[in-house]
């Protein structure tokens, strides 16, 4: 049978729960953890020269929805402007002439 004092000297005994709860209370057990992901991504992006986490927001924990929305609207606007520039919006279309081309008869 193991002597309790020997066990204590070996560190086999556990402290009382009150001791642990005091340690937890003293060391900010209830402190909420911060969100470190954004900071980590930024550091990796900077130190890898943009090789990782290059775009900065598509891999974010909470992708900014406004960014998606604004980008979508901007693309629609670009398409609309392109269409307006490339197709005539006013005036009637040029009438199509269906008359046959004149035929020249070459005498023998």
């Amino acid at each position: 049978m193991t002597d309790p004092r020997q066990k204590e000297l070996r560190g086999d005994t556990e402290p009382e729960e009150s001791f642990r709860s005091l340690l937890r209370g003293a060391l900010h057990e209830d402190t909420p953890a911060p969100d470190v992901l954004a900071g980590v991504q930024k550091k990796i992006r900077e130190r890898s020269g943009g090789k990782f986490y290059a775009d900065g927001w598509s891999t974010a924990k909470h992708p900014p929805l406004n960014t998606y929305l604004i980008t979508s609207l901007l693309m629609l606007a670009v398409l609309g402007v392109s269409y307006a520039l490339l197709s005539p919006l006013v005036g009637d279309p040029e009438p199509v002439r269906n008359q046959p081309a004149p035929v020249q008869i070459i005498p023998r």
């Binding site: 560190g11 086999d12 209370g25 003293a26 060391l27 402190t31 911060p34 992901l37 550091k43 986490y53």
Partner: protein, 202 residues
């Protein structure tokens, strides 16, 4: 034969080794609270702990390809955290900033005479709240005064509830050495708190 959990972790590590950014995001989300809490306990300062937590994950991202899977991923993350933290503590010690620990403010600190007789069991009683604050403050100061090697085992065992085997893997010490170091750390902490409070802790 590896169980399902081991296989799942192995696949996760393979994704990390391929520098899968989404896998790494998952890793950070999974461990950020534990890493931050450990660092806060070790360093005693929230700003330092937050900065160091970011640094830990950056180092993990860099070094994940060197992880051979000899231990659990969580144990390896603890090891990286503890090693970086100890380096930081040495740096801070050189800069003499240890006295600026972010501690809970005690509005009206009573004299040590008034705190006499406070024991661990009294903390929960409302009428002994002030004495409880004093005791917690004394514990904070005494833990901060512990040498990093002793602080490390005390926090990992008594607060993080890690096994002796895990402690051995993290510290790189044999289990017997870990146990004796832990025993000494507890003894030193108790003695130090008793000196500060002027009362034997029951």
């Amino acid at each position: 034969m590896p169980n399902a959990e081991d296989q799942s972790e192995r696949k996760f590590i393979e994704r990390l080794a391929r520098r899968d950014e989404r896998a790494f995001n998952e890793l950070v989300e999974l461990y950020e609270a534990r890493v931050f809490r450990l660092l806060l306990r070790m360093l005693g300062r929230r700003d330092e702990a937050e900065d160091m937590a970011q640094e830990v994950f950056v180092q993990i991202f860099k070094a994940i390809t060197t992880f051979r899977g000899d231990s659990k991923l969580s144990t390896w993350i603890y090891r990286v955290s503890v090693n970086l933290c100890k380096n930081r503590m040495k740096y801070l010690a050189r800069r003499h900033t240890e006295g600026e620990d972010e501690l809970e403010p005690v509005a009206e600190r009573a004299t040590l005479d008034e705190a006499k007789g406070v024991t661990f069991g009294d903390v929960a009683q409302p009428d002994r709240l002030l004495e409880g604050y004093q005791l917690e403050r004394a514990v904070q100061l005494c833990i901060a005064e512990l040498e990093p090697d002793f602080r490390e085992v005390l926090i990992l065992r008594d607060l993080e509830d890690l096994s002796y085997e895990e402690l051995s893997e993290i510290t790189g010490l044999p289990e017997g050495t870990v146990k004796s170091r832990l025993h000494r750390a507890r003894g030193m902490l108790k003695l130090s708190v008793e000196r500060k409070m002027g009362e034997k802790i029951s």
